[in-house]
């Protein structure tokens, strides 16, 4: 039995009066790359935020690397790396300053921190921009800084919410290689994305969430076999009820005609 990195048991979550997660259960094993799929508003980001200790579940239990949440959220945060969906940054800091801040908040020893920052900036081709303010960075550069910040403290669990957003093709390929290499080194990765062919290629397993419920989980091959669909995208369409061409599209085009 492989060691579990995340235990998500009958988790319920509500924002104000709206219930977002309806008793979801799953387990992530150590060294696994797991894709988290679902349409917009399905509850993917909420699931990730609960695992990251940012939100507290309304009911159910969550443990991350054996640590219960939300009681020991600070300890969990020490062991995870999180790349959020939206690239909120302190815009007036430089790339170097932002990475230093994040590393120091995770108590990374200064010499190690500087070495890691240097390596990350070199790998992401940001060395020349290290002293530029983040508000001058492009969307892709910001995304690279966020990914770098999530790795600085050598976390056991890495939560990636749309990590390839804004990246150019070369950077996206590099990130995919990086994810695979991290998993080989025993890191657990939860990868939320709408780009299904990437999930199909790099993930060991996929979890599909729809309207706050876990509707399927398994390896991409198992999901394709069980639904009789040729690709993960077709599996997704069939499970979430989205058709090949949305009739609403024609409606929008028609309404634009004078």
């Amino acid at each position: 039995m492989p060691e579990s990195a995340v235990e998500f048991d009958q988790v319920v979550f509500s924002y104000e009066y709206e219930q977002v997660l309806h008793g979801i259960s799953f387990t992530l094993h150590k060294g696994e790359i797991v894709g988290l799929l679902g349409p917009n508003g399905a509850g993917k980001s909420t699931t990730i935020k609960i695992i990251a200790g940012i939100l507290a579940a309304s009911a159910g239990s969550v443990t991350v690397v054996g640590i219960p949440l939300p009681e020991r959220a600070v300890d969990v945060k020490q062991r995870i790396g999180y790349v959020p969906e939206a690239a909120f940054l302190f815009e007036s800091l430089t790339g170097q300053e932002f990475l230093e801040l994040m590393g120091r908040l995770h108590d990374v020893e200064e010499h190690t921190l500087q070495n890691r920052i240097r390596d990350i900036l070199q790998t992401f081709e940001l060395t020349g921009d290290r002293e530029s303010r983040l508000d001058t960075y492009s969307k892709g550069m910001r995304q690279k800084v966020l990914i770098g910040a999530a790795l600085l403290h050598n976390p056991d669990l890495i939560l990636l919410d749309e990590p390839l957003s804004g990246l150019d093709v070369n950077a996206a390929i590099m990130i995919k290689d990086l994810i695979a290499a991290l998993a080989e080194n025993g890191k657990t990765i939860l990868y939320s994305s709408h780009v299904l062919d990437v999930v199909e290629k790099i993930c060991d397993r996929a979890l599909i969430i729809h309207k706050g419920r876990l509707i399927a989980q398994g390896t991409p091959q198992d999901l394709m076999a069980s639904t009789g669909q040729p690709t993960l995208e077709d599996v997704f369409r069939s499970l979430t009820g989205s058709t090949q061409t949305n009739p609403g599209v024609q409606g929008i085009v028609a309404s634009l005609r004078p």
């Binding site: 924002y15 104000e16 940012i54 939100l55 999180y82 302190f90 800091l93 120091r104 908040l105």
Partner: protein, 536 residues
């Protein structure tokens, strides 16, 4: 100061309070850096220029009050009591606002929420600037009154020292009380109600002052001294009990900030999802009166943001407390007299000036908002639409602050005063309030809700408001003593004021539209213009 404070003793003290010293100093440095670079401008205690400006204003104000009070020669304890109450009130108005802004609206919490920082460390770092406010404002408010106290009869030579020590104790207690208040709110108020509760908390010092005055009046009417025992031990016991309850409440409140604060704040960041989708009934009127879809856009945008923007609501809610208290006491004291009645002063004379005061405050805070980064959307708007948009801004303020309250007044007073007097007063009041709006509109120098809150500007509001109050008092006197003796004179003045309001509004609208275009061109020149440049 920072280097002097960071030492093993401070770190040990922080640790004993559950604060991680390493993280605490990192956050202190981060907040200082962000404030210095103009990214975090909403905290007075981190803005040296604004803090010094407020301290100087308070210094001048309290010096004048100190000298006047000394001339009345009260006893030393009464004099001390007056200034301690004054210090507590002014500090609380500033500290409640600052603590609320820091704890209920922490923009940076979205970025730091997944970092391994405990609640105690985060809130301690966030609230450290309150200590700086106390250190600046307490001497500003008390140095001259403390020295002036030496001129009181029977004042001891050491009175200034006693006064200043007492002022610092009051200041520290006020700061702790604020932290405790918000700790209790964070702990006990449901997350979805927390933002609204934080905004209402800003009105507490004003409510406490109004409520305190009413309570004292009621107690004196009840001759409460006759009901209580004369034994001094009773009062010592009562004071001791109140101290224990107070200290217990403060400790409980502050401890509440150390728990799952960051988790509750993260949940709160999604607050306002159920804002409702009411459609304004004024859209068609605005389109007809103020011209086109862009005016409707301005009307809809400003009216909805006024209801939903955290900073705007936070600043405006305390402004409604005094008019509300005034309204309640007006109702309690009977129907306002007919302003044309002759002889007796009618409180209704104040109505257009109260509207002018409210409009002054709204126009001065309207350019600032929580979602100021959304201003980029206006860069994609055709330049000519800005004219209509500006008329839309005017329409919101005119309809909601001038037209509707005056029509309500007309409906209320038509019967007791007669339709002729009520109609003429309403026409006069509307014309005067419209002129106020036309003049004050120029304070909107950017797209509404498109700038980060600026504490320096806020600090300048108090003297402007005092100056405005003096001007309004003179105008009310002219109104009462000279104008309202003749209905014809009032009618003529109303026509002149309406004409002046119309032409001034046209000129102001053109100026505001030009100003908005200029600021948008500055923003479009480079993205970094959204923030202040790093010095050097």
């Amino acid at each position: 100061m920072r280097k002097w404070l960071q030492n093993p003793w401070t770190d040990r003290f922080l640790q004993s309070c559950g604060v991680n010293p390493r993280h605490y100093w990192l956050l202190i440095d981060l907040f200082a850096q962000l404030s210095e670079r103009g990214e975090m401008m909403d905290q007075l205690g981190r803005n040296g220029v604004a803090l010094k400006s407020v301290a100087i204003i308070y210094f001048l104000m309290s010096s004048a009050i100190g000298v006047i009070t000394v001339l009345a020669q009260p006893s030393a304890p009464v004099y001390l009591g007056i200034f301690m109450a004054f210090t507590a009130f002014l500090l609380m108005t500033v500290l409640v606002t600052e603590a609320g802004n820091s704890l209920i609206n922490p923009q940076e919490a979205v970025i730091l929420a997944h970092q391994p920082i405990n609640g105690a460390t985060y809130t301690a770092a966030k609230l450290s600037h309150l200590a700086r406010i106390v250190l600046y404002l307490v001497p500003g408010l008390n140095v001259i009154p403390a020295l002036a106290g030496l001129m009181l009869k029977n004042a001891a030579w050491y009175y200034p020292a006693v006064h200043l020590i007492a002022a610092f104790v009051v200041g520290t207690a006020s700061a702790l009380l604020c932290c405790s208040l918000f700790g209790l709110l964070v702990r006990f108020v449901p997350v979805r109600r927390l933002k609204a509760a934080g905004q209402l908390a800003g009105a507490l010092p004003f409510l406490a002052m109004s409520g305190g005055q009413s309570a004292l009046r009621s107690l004196s009417r009840l001759h409460w001294r006759n009901w209580l025992p004369a034994d001094p031990l009773f009062y010592w016991g009562l004071a001791g009990l109140l101290c224990i309850v107070g200290v217990g409440g403060i400790v409980l409140g502050i401890r509440s900030l150390s728990a799952d604060y960051l988790i509750r704040v993260s949940s709160m960041s999604r607050g306002g999802a159920s804002a409702g989708a009411r459609r304004s009934r004024f859209g068609a009127i605005v389109r007809w009166m103020f011209g086109g879809q862009s005016a409707v856009a301005g009307f809809a945008f400003v009216s909805r943001m006024m209801l939903r923007d955290w900073q705007f609501r936070r600043l405006m809610i305390p402004m409604f407390v005094y008019p509300l208290v005034g309204l309640v006491s007006l109702i309690a004291s009977g129907w306002p007299a007919d302003p044309f009645g002759g002889g007796k002063f009618s409180t209704m004379h104040l109505l257009p000036h109260a509207m002018g005061f409210l409009l002054f405050f709204i126009c001065s805070v309207l350019p600032y908002g929580n979602d100021y980064k959304g201003v980029w959307i206006f860069l994609s708007v055709p330049s000519r639409a800005i004219d209509g948009f500006t008329r839309g801004i005017f329409s919101v303020l005119w309809i909601n602050v001038v037209l509707i309250p005056n029509l309500i007044a007309l409906a209320l007073f038509a019967r007791p005063w007669g339709i002729w007097h009520a109609g003429l007063f309403t026409a006069f009041s509307m014309a005067l309030a419209s002129l106020y709006l036309a003049l004050e509109l120029r304070m909107i120098e950017n797209v509404p809700f498109s700038k980060q809150i600026d504490t320096t500007r806020q600090a300048m509001m108090l003297p402007l408001m005092i100056g405005g109050g003096i001007v309004a008092a003179i105008v009310v006197s002219v109104q009462y003593f000279l104008l309202f003796h003749s209905a014809a004179a009032v009618a003529l003045t109303a026509v002149v004021l309406a004409g002046a309001a119309y032409f001034t509004a046209r000129a102001s609208l053109s100026t505001v539209a030009g100003s908005i275009r200029f600021h948008l061109s500055v923003i479009s020149s480079e993205t970094t213009s959204l923030y202040r440049e790093i010095a050097g």
